[in-house]
C-alpha cells in the first residue's frame, strides 16, 4: 500500500468515526428532547404518563378562564369532544381569549390537570395554529372560516 492510499484510508476511517459519533449524539439528543403534540381527545383516549412533557393544543373553553392570586391562571382547553383543565402561572399572550386557539407546553400532573409552563397564542386574530386546526377537524368541530 503506498503512502497516498494509506492517507486516503486513514482519512476515510476518521470520516466514518466522526459520522458515527455525530449520529449517536443526534439520535440521543432527539430521543431525549422531542415533544409530542396532543389534543384533549388524545389525552382522554390514551393514557399519557404524568410528568412527560407534551404540547397540548385546542381552543380555550368559553367561560373557563379564572385568575388566581398573583400570576396564576386556570382555564380549560377543548377540541369540542374532550376538555382538559390547565394551570398556568405567568403572563398570558396578548391575544389569549376564550374561544381562541392556543398551544401550551407542559405536563399532566397526577390528578389529570395540565400544568403549563408556556402558553402560545399567535398575534393574529385570524390565525389558528395548524395543529389545532387538525385536531378540531378530527374531533369534527372544525368550521371553515373560523370558530
Amino acid at each position: 500500500m503506498n503512502a497516498k492510499k494509506k492517507r486516503r484510508l486513514a482519512f476515510a476511517a476518521a470520516l466514518v468515526a466522526v459520522g458515527a459519533v455525530l449520529a449517536v449524539i443526534v439520535v440521543y439528543g432527539l430521543g431525549q428532547n422531542t415533544m409530542y403534540f396532543r389534543s384533549p381527545t388524545d389525552i382522554a383516549e390514551h393514557r399519557i404518563q404524568p410528568g412527560v412533557s407534551i404540547r397540548l393544543g385546542g381552543l380555550v373553553q368559553q367561560g373557563s378562564v379564572a385568575h388566581g392570586k398573583g400570576a396564576e391562571v386556570r382555564f380549560a382547553i377543548t377540541d369540542g369532544k374532550s376538555t382538559v383543565p390547565v394551570n398556568f402561572s405567568g403572563v398570558l399572550p396578548a391575544l389569549f381569549r376564550e374561544g381562541q386557539g392556543v398551544v401550551t407546553t407542559g405536563a399532566l400532573n397526577e390528578t389529570g390537570t395540565f400544568v403549563a409552563n408556556e402558553v402560545l397564542a399567535k398575534h393574529d386574530e385570524k390565525y389558528m395554529p395548524p395543529e389545532v386546526v387538525d385536531s378540531l377537524k378530527r374531533s369534527g368541530h372544525w368550521k371553515e372560516g373560523g370558530v
Binding site: 449524539i25 443526534v26 409530542y36 404540547r55 400570576a71 398575534h123 393574529d124
Partner: protein, 638 residues
C-alpha cells in the same frame, strides 16, 4: 397601468435571463467571444428590468394602489411610509421579487467585475441565468406580485403588525443579500467544473465574503428583532425559520475557511467546490422551509402547495444538477495539495468538520419533525434542549480550536511554538474563568467555561494583531471576526446564565425589585399611534424615592389589521438590559408585567457586528489588492 408595466418588466427580465444562460454557457467555449459579450449585456439588462419591476411594485405600495391585489392585501393608507415600503417584501410575492432582484444584482456584479477571466465569468453567468430563469418562472406562474383586483377596494388589509418594525424592515433584504449571495459562489463553482477550476476560488472569494457578511448581519438583525419585539426576553428560539438562516451561515463560514486553504496552499480543492454548492443548496432549502408554509411562523406567508412543490422541484434540479456535474467532473480535477498533520490546513480541516457537524445537528433537528409528520402523521417538536445537547458542545469544541489556526504555518506548523505564543491568551482565559467563579454567585461552571473560551478567543485575536504589524488586511480581518465570536459568546453567556426575571401582576403604586432595579408601576393609559391604539404602562425606575426614569412598555392594537402586539421598553447601559413587557389586563387597574434583567445582552449583537466588520475588512483588503494587481498588470502590459 403601473401593475402591467411591472409585469412586462418581469417578462423582459425572464427573456434576458434565458439569453444570459444560453449565451453564457455557450460563451464558455474559448472561441465564442461574441456570445460572452451577449451574456454580459443580458446580465445588465436583466438587472435593469428586475429593478424596474421592483420599483413599480414599491411605487404601488407607496401610493397605496389597491387595484394591485398584493398592495390591497398587505398595505393600508394609514401605515407610515417606511412600512409601506417594507411592506413590499413583507409578503410572499414581493419577497420573491426581492429575491430575484438580489440574484440579478449579483449577476450584474459578476458580469461587471469579470473576475477569473472571461470564460469562467461567462460560464458562471450561464448558471446564474438558469437560476434566475427558474425563479422568474416561479414568480410569474405561482406568485405574481402584480395580479389585479377588480373591483378595487377603498382600503387595504394592512400589514401584520409584527412586521411593522424597523428591524424587520431591514432584516429580509439583508438576509436575502446573504442567501442569494451564495448563488454567485455556486455559479462560479459550477463554472469551474465546466471550464476547469483554476482560479475560481480567487474569483469567487469576494462574493463568498459579501454573502457571509450579509448573512451575519441579517441573522443578527433577526435575532435582535425577536429579542425586543416578541416580548419574551429571548434572543434565539431555535425556531425552524431561524435555523433556516443559521444553516447557510454555518456552511458559508466553512466555505470561507476551506476556500482560504485552497487559495493559499492548494489544499481541499474538490471539497471547496462541494461546499460552494452546499452553501447555496442550504439557502434554497431554507427558502423552501420558510416559504412552503410547512412551518408555522410569522415568516410563513402562504401555504399554497403548488408553491412548495415548485420550489421543491427547483431545489432538486439545482442541487441535483450541480452534484451530477460535480460527480462527472470532479474525478478529472487535480487533487488537493498535501500537508503535514500539524499545519494550518489541519486546523481548517477541523474547522470544517465541526461546522459541518453542527450544521448537520441543526438540519436533523429542523427537518425531523417534518419528515416524521409526512411519514406517519405524528406531530412532534424538537425544542431548544436538543440543540443545547448537540449543537452547543460541537460549536464549543470549534471555538477552542479557533486561536490555534492563525498561529500555525501553511503546509507544516510548529505546534509547540504556536502553543507558547498563545500563553497570554491562555492567561486571559484563566483570569476570566476565575473572575466569574470568584465574583458571581451562584457559581456556574458552564458560565466560567464560556468566559474562559471567550477570553481565549479575544486574547488570541489581540495577540494576532500585535504580532503582525504591517501585515495584510486579511490577518486583521480574521482576528476581528474571531474576536467578534468571543464577544457574542460573552453576551450569550450573560443573557442566559445570569438573566433574572419577574412575572407578576401589579396594581398601580406597587413596587417590585428585580436584580439591581426597583420598579414602581404607575398604571396604564391609552395612547394613539399613527395606525394603532395602545395601552401604555408607566413604570418608574426608582433610585431610592426619586424617579430616575420612566419606562413605557405598550400593548398595541392595530385597528386595520385587528391584531395586537407588545412593544417592549428596554433600558440599556450597554452592558446590561432592563427589559419590560406589558401583559394582560387583570382587572381593577392591575396588569401582568414581565421584567427581565439581562446582563451583557447587547454584546450578542455587538459581537455579530464585529464579525461582520471583520468580513468587510477582508473584502476591502481584496478590493485594494485587486486594484493594485490590475494596476501593475496594466503597467506590465504597457
Amino acid at each position: 397601468m403601473t401593475g402591467e408595466l411591472g409585469q412586462i418588466a418581469v417578462c423582459f427580465a425572464l427573456a434576458l435571463s434565458l439569453v444570459m444562460s444560453g449565451a453564457g454557457l455557450w460563451g464558455a467555449r474559448a472561441d465564442q467571444a461574441a456570445s460572452r459579450s451577449i451574456a454580459n449585456g443580458a446580465a445588465m439588462g436583466m438587472l435593469v428590468f428586475t429593478a424596474l419591476a421592483f420599483g413599480v411594485l414599491t411605487y404601488a405600495f407607496i401610493v397605496s394602489d389597491f387595484s394591485v391585489a398584493l398592495v390591497s392585501s398587505h398595505s393600508h393608507t394609514t401605515k407610515p411610509l417606511i412600512y409601506k415600503i417594507s411592506g413590499v417584501w413583507g409578503n410572499h410575492e414581493g419577497s420573491m421579487l426581492l429575491w430575484v432582484l438580489v440574484l440579478a444584482i449579483y449577476a450584474a456584479l459578476v458580469a461587471a467585475l469579470q473576475r477569473g477571466g472571461d470564460r469562467l465569468t461567462s460560464a458562471a453567468l450561464g448558471v446564474q441565468g438558469l437560476m434566475a430563469a427558474a425563479f422568474f418562472l416561479f414568480l410569474l406562474f405561482t406568485s405574481n406580485p402584480f395580479a389585479r383586483l377588480d373591483p378595487m377596494p377603498f382600503e387595504g388589509n394592512g400589514l401584520t403588525p409584527l412586521l411593522q418594525d424597523i428591524g424587520l424592515a431591514l432584516h429580509p433584504p439583508m438576509l436575502y443579500a446573504g442567501y442569494v449571495g451564495l448563488s454567485a459562489s455556486f455559479s462560479y463553482a459550477a463554472a469551474a467544473l465546466m471550464v476547469g477550476e483554476e482560479g475560481w476560488v480567487r474569483a469567487a472569494r469576494p462574493f463568498m465574503l459579501m454573502a457571509w457578511i450579509a448573512l451575519t448581519a441579517g441573522i443578527a438583525l433577526g435575532s435582535w428583532w425577536a429579542y425586543y419585539e416578541l416580548g419574551w426576553g429571548g434572543f434565539w428560539f431555535w425556531d425552524p425559520v431561524e435555523n433556516a438562516s443559521l444553516m447557510p451561515w454555518l456552511i458559508a463560514t466553512a466555505l470561507l475557511h476551506s476556500a482560504l486553504a485552497t487559495e493559499r496552499s492548494g489544499a481541499f480543492r474538490t471539497w471547496t467546490l462541494l461546499l460552494a454548492i452546499g452553501g447555496f443548496s442550504m439557502s434554497l432549502i431554507g427558502t423552501f422551509l420558510v416559504r412552503s408554509g410547512l412551518t408555522s411562523s410569522v415568516h410563513a406567508f402562504a401555504s399554497d402547495p403548488t408553491r412548495g412543490f415548485f420550489i421543491m422541484v427547483l431545489i432538486a434540479l439545482a442541487i441535483g444538477g450541480a452534484l451530477a456535474l460535480f460527480a462527472w467532473r470532479a474525478p478529472t480535477l487535480k487533487g488537493g495539495a498535501a500537508f503535514e498533520p500539524v499545519s494550518r490546513e489541519t486546523t481548517l480541516l477541523l474547522n470544517n468538520v465541526f461546522l459541518i457537524a453542527s450544521c448537520a445537528c441543526v438540519f436533523v433537528g429542523t427537518l425531523y419533525p417534518l419528515v416524521l409528520e409526512a411519514f406517519n402523521g405524528t406531530k412532534i417538536s424538537v425544542g431548544p434542549p436538543y440543540y443545547m445537547l448537540t449543537f452547543s458542545p460541537i460549536f464549543f469544541a470549534l471555538l477552542l480550536l479557533v486561536p490555534l489556526g492563525p498561529k500555525l504555518g501553511w503546509k507544516r506548523g510548529d505546534l509547540k511554538a504556536a502553543w507558547r505564543s498563545l500563553y497570554p491568551a491562555l492567561g486571559l482565559a484563566a483570569v476570566a474563568a476565575i473572575a466569574v467563579l470568584a465574583l458571581i454567585t451562584p457559581r456556574g461552571l458552564t458560565a466560567a467555561l464560556a468566559f474562559a473560551v471567550a477570553g481565549w478567543l479575544i486574547g488570541a485575536s489581540i495577540l494576532d494583531v500585535r504580532s503582525r504589524k504591517g501585515a495584510r488586511a486579511s490577518a486583521f480581518a480574521a482576528a476581528l471576526a474571531h474576536a467578534g465570536l468571543g464577544v457574542t459568546l460573552l453576551g450569550v453567556t450573560g443573557a442566559t446564565a445570569w438573566r433574572s426575571e419577574a412575572l407578576t401582576v401589579m396594581a398601580p403604586g406597587e413596587i417590585i425589585t428585580v436584580g439591581p432595579y426597583r420598579l414602581r408601576f404607575d398604571g396604564v393609559t391609552e395612547v394613539k399611534g399613527p395606525n394603532y391604539v395602545a395601552d401604555q404602562a408607566r413604570i418608574a425606575l426608582m433610585d431610592g424615592d426619586r424617579v430616575k426614569t420612566m419606562l413605557r412598555p405598550e400593548q398595541r392594537f392595530y385597528t386595520a389589521e385587528g391584531q395586537s402586539v407588545a412593544d417592549t421598553a428596554i433600558r440599556t447601559t450597554g452592558l446590561r438590559d432592563l427589559y419590560l413587557a406589558l401583559g394582560d389586563n387583570r382587572g381593577n387597574g392591575r396588569y401582568a408585567i414581565r421584567v427581565y434583567v439581562s446582563p451583557l445582552a447587547p454584546l450578542i449583537w455587538l459581537g455579530a457586528l464585529v464579525m461582520a466588520l471583520g468580513g468587510m475588512l477582508s473584502l476591502w483588503g481584496r478590493v485594494r489588492v485587486g486594484a493594485r494587481a490590475s494596476a501593475s498588470e496594466t503597467v506590465a502590459a504597457e
